[in-house]
Structure formats: C-alpha cells, structure tokens
Symmetry: C2
Subunit: 250 residues, 2 copies
DNA sequence: CGCGATTTGTGCACGCCTTCACAAGCGCCT
DNA sequence: AGGCGCTTGTGAAGGCGTGCACAAATCGCG
C-alpha cells in the first residue's frame, strides 16, 4: 500500500481532493467489506473501542484469517496484541467503499417491490439516499411516497441533469428492464442494481448487479433436494461439508 | 452420470422414488443453473426447439465454455453439431434443482418487504408456493394477503406440523431475525432465505442464503468510487477488466 | 527493563473455478 | 457413401481465493 493515508487527526477532513487510485482489491474482498462494516457499527454501538480479528470475524460470520487478509489489503490499521480500532476501521472501510459521500439513488418502477424499497430506511443509514422515483404508469406518476413524488420515466434525463444519480435501481417487470437500463445509461448512470429476472446488456464501463429472489430459492431448493437424497445414506455426518451461510455477494 | 434418467416418455412421471444421490456439482455451477433455466424458458416460449451452447450462453450472460462444462456435469444432453434440446434440458435442470416438486415456502415478517414478497407471482412461476405468512404484530395477524391469512408466529410449529415447509423466508427486522431463525429450525425448516441485515447462526445441516440490498449498493458504490478515481488517468481503457454483470449468487 | 501473553500481517500450499483450444461426434448435402 | 461444417464435451493451464501456521510487533506486568 503505497499511500498510507493514516487519519492522523483521527477525525475526518484530511481526505485530499485527488483520490489515490486504488490498489486492485480482490473482488471477493470488496464483497465482504460491507459485512465487516455492518458488524463494526454494531460493535461500536455496543461500546467497543477495539476489536480483535477473531471477534470481528465472528460478528461478520467469516474466518479470522480471511478477515485479516482482507483488511491487510487496504493497508494495515490494526495494532498487534490489541486489535483494530473500531472507529478508525469504520472510517477506513467507508472511505474505500466511497461512502464518505452520500450516494444518490434513482429508483425506476414503483410497483410492489419498488414501494417497499422506496420506504426502506436501511438505505439511508448505510450511505445512500433515494432521490428520485420513476414509473411509466400515468396512474402512479404524481403519487407521493415517503416524501418523494413519483415522476414519469421520460423525465429521467432532466432529473439526472440537475442531480447526478450515482446508482440506478430497476424494479420494473423483466420486459421493460432492458429499455430502462438503456435510458439510465443514456442519462449517465454507471451503476445499476437490477431486480428484474433478466440479463441486461450494458456498455463495458457500466456495472450491473442483479438480485433475483427466485434464483436464491432455487439454489436452496437444490440443497433441499440433495439433503433429502442423503437421508438414507451412510453415517449421517452433519459436521463435514456444505450446509452454511452463503452471502449473496458474488 | 450413472443414472441416465432420460425422459423416454417425454413427460414426467417416471422419476423413481429413490433419488440417485447427486454427484457433487460445483457450487458455482448450481448457482448458475437457475439462470440457464430462465433463459431456456424464454427461448422455449420464443419457439426454439434446440439451442447451441453459444446461444444459450449469450441468453444467460455467461461464457459458452463455462456453460458447456456446467451442463456436462449433469450428464450430457446435447447433440454435437446441433445443440441442446430445449425441453429436455429444462426438464433436466428442474429435476436437478428439485423443482419437479413444488416447494412450500413460509414467510415470516409481513411488513414493507414481506408484503411485496407475498404478492409476487414470480415465485409461483418458478417452482415455489408461499403457503403460510407469519407475523408477531397482533395488528397484522388475521390480515388477508393474496388469499393467505397472516398467522401469529407462535402458530409456526402447528402449521409446520400439518404442511412441511421446505424453505423459510425471514423478512423481519434484524433484531428479530435470529429468534425467528431458531423457531424455523425448531419447526424443522432446513433452508432459510434471510433478508435481514445480520448474520444468522444455525446448525450445520441448515442452509442459509442472505440477500442484503445495502451490501449490493455498497459494492456498486465501491466501483463508482474506483471509476471516479480513474477518470483522470492514462489510456481510458474501457475494454479490459471489471465492469460487468455480476450475479448475486455466491 | 525484560519477559510472556496476545494478536496482527503474511508466505505458502492447496483446491476450485475459469478459459482456451481441440478432438470426437453428428447431421446434412452432394 | 463420403466429405464437410458445425457443435459438443473435455484435457490442460492459469488465476483466484482460502486457510494454515508462524514470525513480527505490541502491550502489560513484575
Ligand atoms: N414483488 C417482489 O417481491 C419481487 C421479488 C423479486 C423480484 N421482483 C421483480 O421486481 C420487478 C418488479 O416487481 P413488482 O412486483 O414490483 O412488479 P409490479 O408490476 O408491481 O411493478 C412494476 C412497476 O414498474 C412500472 N413500469 C413498467 N414498465 C415501466 C417502464 N418502462 N418504465 C418505468 N416503469 C415501468 C409499472 O408501472 C409498475 O409500477 C419484477 O421484475 C419482478 O420480477 C419482484
Ligand atoms: N423494505 C425493504 O425494501 C427492505 C430492503 C432490504 C432489506 N430489508 C430488510 O427486510 C426486513 C424487513 O423490512 P421491512 O421494511 O419489511 O420492515 P417492516 O418493519 O416493515 O416489517 C417487519 C415485520 O416483521 C414483523 N416482526 C417483527 N418481529 C417479528 C417476530 N419476532 N416474528 C415475526 N414477525 C416479526 C413486524 O411486525 C413487521 O410486520 C428488515 O430486516 C429490513 O432490514 C427491507
């Protein structure tokens, strides 16, 4: 880690304008950082000043060696014999994840799922703010949800022009998803979270993450199936092997 | 594949009672099977009888070599020079995923998100049926949602006794999630889909998958951050590297 | 001031997954 | 009947991620 960036004054504020161009963190690591962050916040509220890798690993549900290696990738902020400074580590991870600036989210498709998302306070507390809601249904446009007015999808370019949307969320039916994605991309959005069960085609510089509940259920179904086929087999070993806590991140 | 199980009569029904105890498919493969399945259904509705690995791979958003290797793991159902028989492959994958029997899902926590899930028809069309809704709030108990009456969480054991729940879905606040998970496990549920942002502790024979939207957003945020720090750097290569379609599966 | 207890950071080996590249197999056309 | 083009299935190589095990570092105490 060439750039040490150690928060000398403990508080924030010394973050230089020019971002240091990241060492390429392993994808697997960055997928776990949010989990560490959540665990740290819990621990912090619990009054802990420092936490050992063992403790944090347990709270995040991972192996302690993995956790240490992950953290080592973003430059070492632990103290041997003591552990990690909770506040400092929170600050570090938030910085790496780009959460020091609150990211603006635009949500397209205010149906069943969209409604739930729009009203979810878990976004605000984790660094995001839904700043705009869009739908194509005239009956929905104008509706007020949690302080936001639903706007017509055609207004997307205008809205994006006045407030940069960091992330676009697609909660429309699958048939409309690709068109919506195209419009988001045209409006300058380079990160998309897609709830529609379909593959999106986007330019190479745009990141798409997909959440498909049916897929999750089907994976569970497979394991059910497998477990069922094992019930009448040799030693019913329960220890060795599969059975556990798979996070959704890639 | 020792057991060929070739659907001779094309329809279903010849599935012998004793399941053949699976070759251990790579975890990565089973996480992609649902995606292939969805793509196949789309193609089938489009009127295709057969599909090449190239075509199916494109529809599912993966590399064609990867797709072939995945499918080869479950015994080859393709024809060289022609491709895969769409109907047969659908049947195959559904069998492997255990979707030939419709799985009963119990949903706990009928709040914002729970409501949306309860009303989602995408489950039914993909092999699942929500058979019970639970909540702890007396104000919610008794409410009728999409033909199902919300029952009190205390009734879970009774309900589970009369209808086996294959999968439990947790959509309660994080604070209640562990308790709910314990109750599900006690009721005999061995697969859990968890929407609450917390780590669940369960016995080794229970599978847990987690969906955390904030984590997805934070991962996107990281890439935004990284991209932003790269704008003013050497050759703005857009081809090489990250930027794309990461599925939610492990 | 030195020693032991504790905990981080990491070298290393192993296994999984991805990807390339190609031989083997299949159907169609002549 | 034979050849040609197309597509599958897979061997092999390389890369990535995980987890062990341990040296280095720090703190607290006698
Ligand atoms: N409801 C769930 O629990 C759930 C779960 C998993 C996945 N999903 C997926 O999420 C998506 C939304 O689900 P839902 O249940 O909210 O569906 P929905 O039909 O209730 O809502 C879809 C909304 O999108 C709007 N819309 C349609 N085309 C549009 C367009 N071109 N531009 C803007 N808005 C448009 C519709 O007007 C509607 O309000 C679907 O793809 C569904 O498969 C939903
Ligand atoms: N709403 C969203 O879009 C969204 C998005 C991502 C994650 N989540 C997560 O999903 C969970 C639910 O979110 P929500 O917005 O629906 O919250 P909510 O408060 O609207 O609903 C929670 C429901 O759970 C019920 N409940 C509480 N304790 C219970 C118990 N012990 N047993 C049974 N039921 C109990 C409550 O009565 C309530 O009806 C939360 O953990 C949230 O973080 C929600």
């Amino acid at each position: 880690m060439s750039q040490q960036r150690h928060g000398s004054t403990s508080g924030n504020g010394d973050r230089a304008g020019a971002v240091p161009a990241f060492p390429d963190l392993p994808e697997a690591t960055i997928a776990r950082l949010p989990e560490y962050l959540r665990a740290l916040h819990n621990l912090g509220e619990g009054g802990a000043d420092t936490i050992s890798s063992e403790g944090l690993a347990a709270a995040a549900g991972v192996n302690s060696a993995k956790l240490r290696k992950d953290l080592s990738h973003l430059g070492s902020y632990g103290t041997r014999g003591v552990g990690y400074d909770v506040a400092l580590l929170i600050e570090q991870i938030e910085y790496v994840l780009g959460l020091d600036q609150r990211r603006a989210v635009g949500l397209v498709g205010v149906g069943n799922l969209g409604h739930a998302l729009a009203g979810y306070d878990g976004f605000a507390s984790r660094g995001f703010k839904i700043v705009a809601l869009f739908d194509a249904d005239p009956a929905k446009v104008g509706e007020r949800i949690h302080g936001l007015v639903v706007r017509h999808i055609d207004e997307l370019p205008a809205v994006a022009a006045e407030e940069t949307l960091a992330i676009g969320v697609i909660a429309t039916p699958a048939g409309a998803a690709q068109a919506v994605a195209d419009e988001l991309v045209a409006a300058g959005v380079t990160s998309i979270l897609n709830f529609a069960p379909c593959v999106l085609s986007v330019p190479a510089n745009v990141d798409v993450r997909k959440v498909d509940l049916a897929i999750e259920l089907q994976i569970l179904s497979f394991h059910e199936h497998r477990k069922a086929s094992l019930t009448a087999l040799p030693g019913g070993r329960s220890a060795t092997g599969a059975g556990n806590q798979e996070a959704v991140g890639s």
